[in-house]
């Protein structure tokens, strides 16, 4: 897929990347509108937490080295605290009296220079949650109508179709049948059970799976069948667990999406939702979307693929025919590691399926972000170059493992996959990239 090179022009010393959504959105702003919207959000949607964060930050810079943007670029505008300085500090200081140009830069910072990976919360002595502040900035931008075009398109798709990729209802069901047929060539009695009421598990995926990576549905079906799981997939909207509205700042839409998802699971009377290898979707279902609906924890138990694989291997429900031979390393995705602590379970599965596992450093909760998550990759081609060059530290991290012989990077998250693909290509790292499901599918004993 060829993508146009980023158009970058210099404005007041900071490179501004052209984006139709941001540029046209800003053109419609007036200082009065900005002030009104900013104060509405600050007054109605934020409170003590934001104040405590702003008052506690002593500007010490201890968060700097937490951020892959800063570590890669060594430009002080990219430290986590600097991102708050370029957004909310100024806004709070001026009580919303900021210019449209200021909002233009603040939007670019919040949407394209922070992946909301929350690594910096682990490096700040006060535990200041910069991701929360960037989301607050995005919320303001959403209400101002200043959002990057590409990610806004996915949010529109969510609103119109309840999935991220404009997949129509019949296309969705067709895709399931198509993947079932494909899989039946390998395993003749394999089924993808659709709309099976009372199944144990509803398996849910993100919009891009039927759109671009349909073979993942095939693979998941093979794994679930081999494990003898009682599972189903819905034929109705609500099948998509992804959520770009969460990242554009459209909290109302985030809540609607999660409501649809949970209600679909409830309608099918399943015991729990098992989701594919996606990080942001897990964050949406387990952490943010449920809260937007007023659920402290998800109303239907949610199990991420990594935890489910662990469960299957632990119980001996999947047998390994022959372990994966090429040396592998593992990229820990933020939303399921810092977001759910699945790192040891993942390692258990990697060790069960691979001959030779070499850790990248840092790892587990301290792993560097892929620089694609948080909706950044969804902001599309205009910002691609920036996110790739802003993560040279990831390239260094992978490259250190290749020196130890690593040939395959396992990235069990869709956004991480997209981000790492670009990094591996740009920095000529010469490694393969796989989901953990790819490996399991490859090495498992398959029923005849």
């Amino acid at each position: 897929m060829s993508e146009p090179a980023s158009k970058i022009e210099n404005q007041k010393g900071i490179k501004v990347i052209k984006d139709m959504g941001l540029d046209q959105g800003v053109a419609r702003l007036t200082p009065e509108k900005i002030e009104k919207v900013v104060n509405e959000v600050l007054e109605n949607e934020t409170g003590a937490r934001l104040k405590a964060y702003v008052d506690s930050c002593v500007h010490c810079g201890l968060c700097s080295d937490a951020c892959h943007y800063y570590v890669s670029r060594q430009d002080p505008i990219f430290t986590p605290a600097a991102k708050v300085k370029q957004t909310l500090w100024e806004i709070l200081d001026k009580k919303g009296k900021v210019s449209p140009e200021f909002i233009r830069r603040a939007a670019e910072v919040a949407y394209t220079e922070c992946n909301l990976c929350r690594r910096c919360a682990m490096y700040c002595p006060f535990g200041i949650d910069v991701a929360y502040m960037m989301l607050t900035m995005r919320r303001i931008c959403h209400k101002l109508g200043v959002t990057p075009q590409y990610i806004q398109d996915t949010a529109h798709s969510h609103s119109a179709t309840m999935n991220q990729m404009w997949v129509k209802e019949d296309e969705w069901v067709d895709t399931l049948f198509w993947q079932e047929e494909e899989a039946q060539e390998e395993i003749p009695n394999l089924r993808i059970p659709v709309e099976k009421e009372g199944a144990d598990i509803m398996y849910s995926v993100i919009g891009p799976e039927p759109k671009f990576r349909a073979q993942l549905i095939y693979q998941a079906a093979v794994i679930l069948n081999a494990a003898g799981a009682d599972w189903t997939m819905p034929a109705t909207p609500g099948w998509d667990n992804s959520d770009m509205a969460m990242y554009t700042g459209d909290n109302e839409m985030m809540a609607r999406l999660k409501k649809e998802h949970f209600e679909t699971a409830t309608r099918l009377k399943v015991k729990r939702i098992v989701m594919g290898e996606c990080g942001h979707a897990f964050r949406s279902v387990y952490d943010m979307g449920n809260r937007a609906l007023g659920w402290k924890m998800p109303p239907v138990p949610v199990v991420h693929a990594l935890e489910y694989y662990y469960e299957l291997f632990r119980a001996g429900r999947i047998k390994v025919a022959k372990k994966f031979e090429k040396p592998v390393t593992l990229h820990d995705p933020c939303n399921v590691i810092r977001g759910r602590g699945l790192h040891e379970m993942t390692r258990y599965v990697v060790n069960k399926t691979c001959e030779n596992f070499i850790e990248m450093t840092p790892n587990r909760e301290h792993n560097y972000c892929c620089c694609a998550g948080g909706g950044v990759i969804n902001c599309g081609p205009p910002f691609r170059d920036k996110r790739v060059v802003s993560n040279s530290v990831k390239a260094d991290q992978i490259s250190a493992t290749t020196k130890k012989g690593v040939e395959v990077v396992i990235a069990p998250c869709h956004n991480c996959h997209g981000g790492l693909e670009d990094i591996i290509h740009h920095f000529h790292l010469g490694v393969e990239l796989k989901f953990l499901g790819d490996i399991i599918y490859e090495v498992m004993e398959k029923p005849e």
Binding site: T46, Y53, P76, M122, F126, M297, R338, H366
Partner: protein, 219 residues
């Protein structure tokens, strides 16, 4: 001079303590109330054990990954904060004042230790200021208020050390010592020095989220 001395060591002391204690209570109570109204999730997700686990790791020198990654800063910042809190409370001269005024007393620091700890505070402030000027990431974040805060913290220690050693103009320094100490105390609830009040809550909250919801470490 005498009147000035009486003013700073009498009514202003009371005023400073009233502003510090009253202001701190006011700030914490209004924050707690506002959080209850607008950020109820802070209460919902607060978990005493995980909050304590996180706070403990960060209050232990070299107890977090980031403390270990910055050994010089960690050493300086712990030495600074420990001295900053202990010296005013356990300095013999201060203990004697409490004894004289309210007939209560407690353990005090050996004179030499207090001297060294005072110097630690002063040099740590110089170190922090230097860091703000030299490190480009910190420089970018720094505004003039950051230097004012450092000056405000260093002032009572510089003047106190000066007066204690009877250097020239020690009488004026003595008055300035009391005055600057009062200013610092009164400023705690209303400036970024309030990180002293909020630390337990911001750290505890993220510790609760990481521990109880995300099952991950945050240090």
């Amino acid at each position: 001079m005498h009147t000035l001395h009486n003013l700073v060591s009498g009514p202003l002391v009371w005023l400073a303590f009233i502003i510090f204690i009253g202001g701190s209570i006011y700030k914490l109570v209004t924050m707690a109330k506002e959080a209850k109204k607008k950020d109820p999730l802070v209460y919902e997700y607060w978990d005493g054990n995980y909050a304590f686990r996180s706070i403990l790791h960060w209050l232990t020198p070299f107890g977090s990954v980031n403390w270990r990654k910055n050994p010089v800063l960690t050493t300086v910042t712990f030495a600074f904060h420990i001295s900053l809190i202990l010296v005013p409370i356990f300095l013999l001269a201060h203990v004697l004042l409490w004894k004289e005024s309210f007939d209560i007393s407690w353990w005090y620091l050996p004179e030499a230790a207090a001297d060294w700890m005072t110097l630690i505070v002063i040099f740590a402030c110089i170190f922090f200021a230097g860091r703000r000027m030299i490190r480009k990431d910190v420089k970018y974040l720094t505004s003039s208020s950051d230097y004012w805060i450092l000056a405000m913290v260093a002032a009572p220690f510089i003047t106190g050390y000066w007066a204690h050693h009877y250097w020239p103009m020690y009488r004026i320094m003595y008055i300035l010592h009391i005055l600057s100490g009062e200013i610092m105390l009164a400023a705690i609830p209303f400036t970024r020095l309030s990180h002293m009040l909020y630390f337990v809550f911001t750290r505890g909250y993220i510790g609760s989220e990481f521990g109880a919801v995300r099952h991950a470490r945050d240090w």
